[in-house]
């Protein structure tokens, strides 16, 4: 009996695409025991662009961020981060790649035994940077998130919003090429959320960093898509309709392990898909 050969899917990404895109997911699937969370998702994050990921709780949004960093390996498919296939790399090699990507975890994930200064400067300490240089850069980045006065505090002494801002400071201190935000405004009050969103917009517009943002709060992503950072006023300002400023922001929606929308704000608000319309209403 001749066993029929399995059909092999043609590669959907070329080497050139991978160089242009900071993150590429190519037919990625992952399951936990019998629960298939992602069932073959594909998308690209071009350099300089921000992409907001939406989906109901448990749809695998946070998993996408962890897989992009190689913290979890998919059961199927390929993930290219900064042009390297993280699904094929050894853990030892991934450490080098991860230094070029910043991540802000859902609950901040600050090291509770270290002071803010050591949390924020952790990466620099690992790289053997001098103490004076670490102090200077930590203060600079804490000034960016407007928390310079917390430098000697422990994470337990900070409020939830302050912890998120410290986590952002830790993620951006080495000016990574890409930033991953996992629900950075989750559980925060509207005022603090706006401060966090402003910081993300500031990072995007001032340093042109690409980012993947997981969020449940549609208004945060809409704010990001409709505002840009004004360095003069040190605040974000709404983008004038028909103006020359283009915000590099796209949206991706997951449903039952599949990508059901990947596009710009205009496409999102004019979609005919009932589920998406209900989701964004």
């Amino acid at each position: 009996m001749v066993t029929p050969s399995l059909p092999v899917a043609a590669p959907t990404t070329t080497m050139e695409d991978q160089a242009q895109d900071v993150i590429v997911f190519d037919d990625v699937a992952i399951a936990f025991e019998d629960n298939a969370v992602l069932k073959g998702i594909s998308f690209r994050l071009p350099r300089g662009e921000s992409k907001a990921l939406f989906g109901v709780a448990g749809s695998g949004k946070s998993l996408i961020l962890k897989m992009a960093l190689g913290l979890l390996r998919p059961d199927r498919g390929h993930i290219y981060t900064l042009g390297q296939d993280v699904t094929q790399m050894r853990e030892e090699d991934l450490f080098e790649l991860r230094r070029k990507v910043g991540i802000v975890f859902q609950e901040s994930a600050l090291f509770d035994s270290l002071r803010v200064r050591d949390n924020v400067g952790y990466r620099l300490m690992e790289e053997g940077v001098s103490q004076d240089e670490i102090d200077r850069r930590v203060r600079e980045v804490l000034r960016f998130v407007e928390l310079e006065h917390t430098v000697d505090m422990f994470p337990a002494e900070l409020s939830g919003g302050m912890r998120r801002r410290v986590a952002i400071a830790r993620a951006i201190i080495t000016q990574p090429e890409t930033l991953l935000y996992d629900s950075p405004t989750g559980g925060l009050d509207p005022v603090t959320s706006t401060t966090i969103v402003e910081l993300i917009v500031k990072q995007r517009d001032v340093y042109k960093t690409s980012s993947l943002l997981v969020t449940h709060r549609l208004q945060d992503a809409f704010t990001m898509a409709t505002h840009c950072f004004d360095p003069k006023s040190n605040h974000m300002q709404p983008v004038a309709r028909g103006g020359r400023v283009e915000v590099p922001m796209t949206f991706l929606i997951l449903r039952e392990g599949k990508v059901i929308f990947d596009g710009e704000l205009h496409d999102l608000v004019t979609t005919k898909d009932e589920y998406i319309r209900e989701y964004i209403s």
């Binding site: 962890k66 991540i103 690992e126």
Partner: protein
């Protein structure tokens, strides 16, 4: 309550699934134990963390190790004196305490204290770090948690348990000496010379090899349970 209701809350797994899980645990533990040693020969090495852990494990456990071995030595002398006096052999108490403490009880008691105090502490600390995503954050920041967290704890435990055992042995002998001289009226010089002369190289060697093995097991088991934590903070107790 019917038996069916009671059993409905219990999750049964097949014997093959149970065996698979156990074998997988052994495999994961073996890999962790091997990596903790291999990392000693790889850069970067976290000597500051080793020193910090030595302070926590060594100096932190010192009072309780010394106290427990001291009172064990004293109790050993006191209890054996009752039996030995029937044969008029109370002079060998020094030998008995010396062999008992140096060969067996010193390393075992020091190991038990460090296991109870530090191994469980390592498991809960690393478990909390897993649950609060601090281990993921560490990996995301380009640090190998095995090198940063596991190897320093294993090295510190092995080294400090060795020295704790030496100090504990001395305190055990001292406890026996105090009981022998104060309660049993023995000459302290006789006790110490008996205790000293009865020890041969193999006794001391065996007594000092054990803490190295115990320390390695205590630290790696603590780290393994910590790093294999799943679920919420409650799972750090399991």
């Amino acid at each position: 309550m019917a038996a069916g209701d009671f059993l409905s809350g219990i999750e049964f797994i097949s014997p093959s699934e149970f065996a698979k899980k156990k074998i997988q645990s052994i495999q994961e533990y073996s890999i962790l134990a091997a990596q903790s040693v291999v990392n000693l020969f790889r850069q970067p090495r976290y000597w500051a963390d080793v020193i910090q852990q030595m302070d926590l494990i060594g100096f932190g456990s010192l009072p309780i190790v010394l106290a427990s071995v001291f009172f064990t030595g004293a109790a050993l002398a006191l209890n054996s004196a009752t039996t030995l006096s029937r044969f008029g052999a109370t002079t060998v108490i020094g030998q008995l305490v010396s062999i008992g403490i140096v060969r067996e009880l010193g390393p075992v008691l020091a190991g038990l204290v460090v296991a109870g105090r530090n191994s469980s502490g390592m498991a809960s600390e690393l478990g909390s770090m897993i649950v609060t995503e601090q281990i993921d954050a560490m990996r995301a920041l380009g640090t190998d948690p095995m090198k940063k967290l596991v190897t320093p704890r294993v090295v510190a435990t092995v080294v400090m348990l060795f020295f704790l055992t030496i100090l504990g042995d001395f305190m055990g002998l001292l406890g026996g000496s105090i009981v022998a001289s104060i309660l049993l009226g023995m000459d302290a010089h006789e006790y110490w010379s008996n205790a000293w002369q009865t020890l041969v190289f193999s006794d001391v060697f065996m007594g000092l090899m054990k803490p190295l093995v115990f320390g390695f097991i205590v630290a790696t088991v603590g780290c393994y349970y910590g790093l294999s934590t799943k679920g919420g903070t409650w799972s750090t107790y399991s």
